[in-house]
């Protein structure tokens, strides 16, 4: 049996203002029966979002020099373990338990009471798992700002704490009856919860850590651009589950979530190509991959609220601020190494604002600015600022505390220059074995 507290929060997610009466009876019914079609789609979506974190590892891993490829990829992969297990232990409960305005409760710690019973039209356990994949990738997203210069233990501690202290509460705010959801902030699949949140944390973390030793001195080029494209492709594929699955059903809304996700990044790619062309005379592959991600991020909050043509507009418009921010950032002293803030923070914020602009009542039940509801844009801006401020402050505090306890967040400068793979993991990404001598006795 699903607890009332959780259902209320949940309802806030699905039942947007103006739809309450319409959907309410359906929800009551939904408690009673699992729909195999909806469950099939949510099973698929859960797998798809899980794959995104592997895709992210390649997107990020291809962008760094080869001496840091494993460290970068592991920052994503280790989130499967740390963020995944902690989600089951307490994160899910903090996000979806109880009905406080700011944070959930501990009533579902260790998944107590989370079983095969229906929650909406899918098994409760599946809803929990689906949300868990979001917790994993949000933590991993931040790592793009930290590559090449952070003690691995400190990184693990950071994402562990951040997931419980920042991510879970913010989910509660927006999707489980918290103050932002209550205000009517629209965030279909996590533009604010996931992307603005991770982007803000990345910005703060990049500043706390400081730039890499050779940042701005030496060129640190992507060692494997095909990996970047592979990552972008896997992310796009997985994002169908991220956005399409956020409908929690295989219906018209789920289809809208998926189809907007298909078209928006296409528009971003086209605009980005023009910007690249006018700036450097050439369309670049790294730019193309970046455009895909920016488009995906921007459509995330809007995916269940706008039409495909609205999605194309959002995708196209979102290219501009991210493009120019990233261009400026690379010439600045801010070593947000893989532009998490530029792509996810700005892309997510722009997407969230444009959700308030392009929302179509016929799609998701809420009208946006273009349909005469300017107030929605204001609500969206409040949500963005709320999440951004909390995430920045909490990130700084967490990192400072970890740094103080663990004797600094970074390895010695000369070690960092040798590359994190060798010094933090004792491995090379691409070993030839030349000059490697077997040590057979035990160490």
């Amino acid at each position: 049996m699903i607890k009332t507290g959780k259902l209320a929060g949940w309802a806030a997610r699905l039942v947007l203002p103006g739809l309450v009466l319409l959907l309410a009876p359906e929800l009551v019914e939904a408690q009673d029966a699992i729909d195999s079609g909806d469950t099939a789609w949510m099973l698929t979506s859960t797998a798809l979002v899980l794959l995104m974190t592997a895709g992210l590892a390649f997107f990020y891993g291809g962008l760094v020099p080869s001496k840091n490829v494993l460290n970068t990829m592991m920052m994503s992969f280790v989130a499967f373990g740390v963020a995944g297990v902690l989600w089951a232990v307490a994160g899910y409960s903090l996000a979806f338990g109880g009905d406080g305005a700011f944070v959930g409760d501990l009533s579902m710690m260790f998944l107590s009471g989370v079983g095969m019973e229906a929650s909406g039209s899918i098994p409760h356990i599946l809803f929990m798992g689906f949300q868990g994949t979001f917790a994993i990738i949000t933590a991993a997203l931040i790592s793009g700002a930290l590559v090449g210069r952070m003690k691995f233990g400190a990184y693990i501690a950071f994402i562990a704490i951040w997931g419980l202290v920042v991510y879970a509460p913010v989910v509660h705010w927006v999707w489980s009856g918290g103050w932002l959801g209550g205000m009517g902030a629209l965030d279909f699949a996590g533009g604010t919860v996931v992307h603005v949140n991770a982007g803000a944390a990345a910005l703060a973390a990049a500043i706390v850590l400081g730039p890499r030793q050779d940042y701005g001195v030496r060129a640190m080029l992507p060692h494997n651009v095909p990996f970047v494209l592979l990552g972008a492709g896997l992310l796009w594929f997985g994002w169908f589950g991220f956005n399409g699955g956020s409908a929690l059903a295989a219906d018209g809304l789920g289809a809208t979530g998926a189809v907007t996700t298909m078209f928006a990044p296409g528009a971003t790619v086209v605009v980005w190509a023009f910007l690249d062309h006018f700036t450097t005379g050439e369309m670049t592959a790294v730019g193309l991959a970046t455009a895909i991600v920016v488009g995906l991020v921007a459509i995330t909050p809007a995916s269940g609220f706008v039409t495909p043509m609205g999605a194309i507009a959002i995708g196209a418009l979102a290219a501009f601020p991210s493009y120019y921010f990233i261009k400026w950032r690379t010439r600045s002293s801010l070593d947000d190494s893989l532009d998490v803030f530029g792509a996810h923070g700005i892309g997510g914020a722009v997407g969230a604002v444009l959700t308030g602009v392009f929302a179509a009542e016929a799609v998701g039940g809420t009208a946006g600015l273009l349909e005469g509801n300017p107030g929605q844009v204001v609500t969206q801006v409040i949500a963005i600022i709320g999440v951004l401020v909390y995430s920045v402050i909490a990130t700084v505090v967490i990192l400072k505390v970890i740094g103080a306890i663990s004797g600094g967040l970074r390895p010695a400068a000369d070690l960092e220059l040798r590359g994190m793979d060798v010094i933090a993991h004792g491995e090379e990404g691409y070993a030839t074995g030349d000059g490697a001598v077997l040590i057979l006795e035990d160490d």
Partner: protein
């Protein structure tokens, strides 16, 4: 004995190998390197980061030849590797004090003596 070291364009490698073969020079060691000379430098851009590429892909050949074959070898390279554009590369000739064939341990002229046939006689 001399060592002829040539730096050439990668796309010319096949032609140079063929020219060496036709000049009866069969032993050669090939190395992928990068060169800096009078070539125009490319500019590349990665997500806003613009870099000037000061190095161009080249191939370096090391060829040990007996004294009498130095000119033949150098000429084979000069004619087969040339495009006439800046960046064609250089050929250096070095003195060698000793040569050994690892398979047999033979030294100097013995190391150069062809095992069989005539086509081998020019290589070490």
């Amino acid at each position: 004995m001399k060592l002829v070291k040539a730096i050439i364009r990668p796309e010319k490698l096949s032609d140079v190998l063929k020219a060496l073969y036709q000049a009866d020079v069969e032993g050669v060691t090939v190395n992928r390197v990068q060169g800096h000379g009078g070539e125009t430098e490319g500019v590349e851009t990665y997500r806003g980061t613009t870099v000037k590429m000061e190095l161009t892909d080249k191939i370096m050949l090391d060829i040990g030849v007996s004294d009498s074959f130095v000119d033949v070898t150098v000429n084979a390279i000069l004619s087969s590797a040339r495009t006439g554009e800046v960046g064609d590369g250089k050929v250096f000739v070095f003195p060698i004090e000793g040569v050994y064939r690892i398979r047999t341990g033979e030294k100097d002229e013995q190391a150069v003596t062809p095992v069989t046939g005539e086509t081998n006689e020019t290589t070490i």
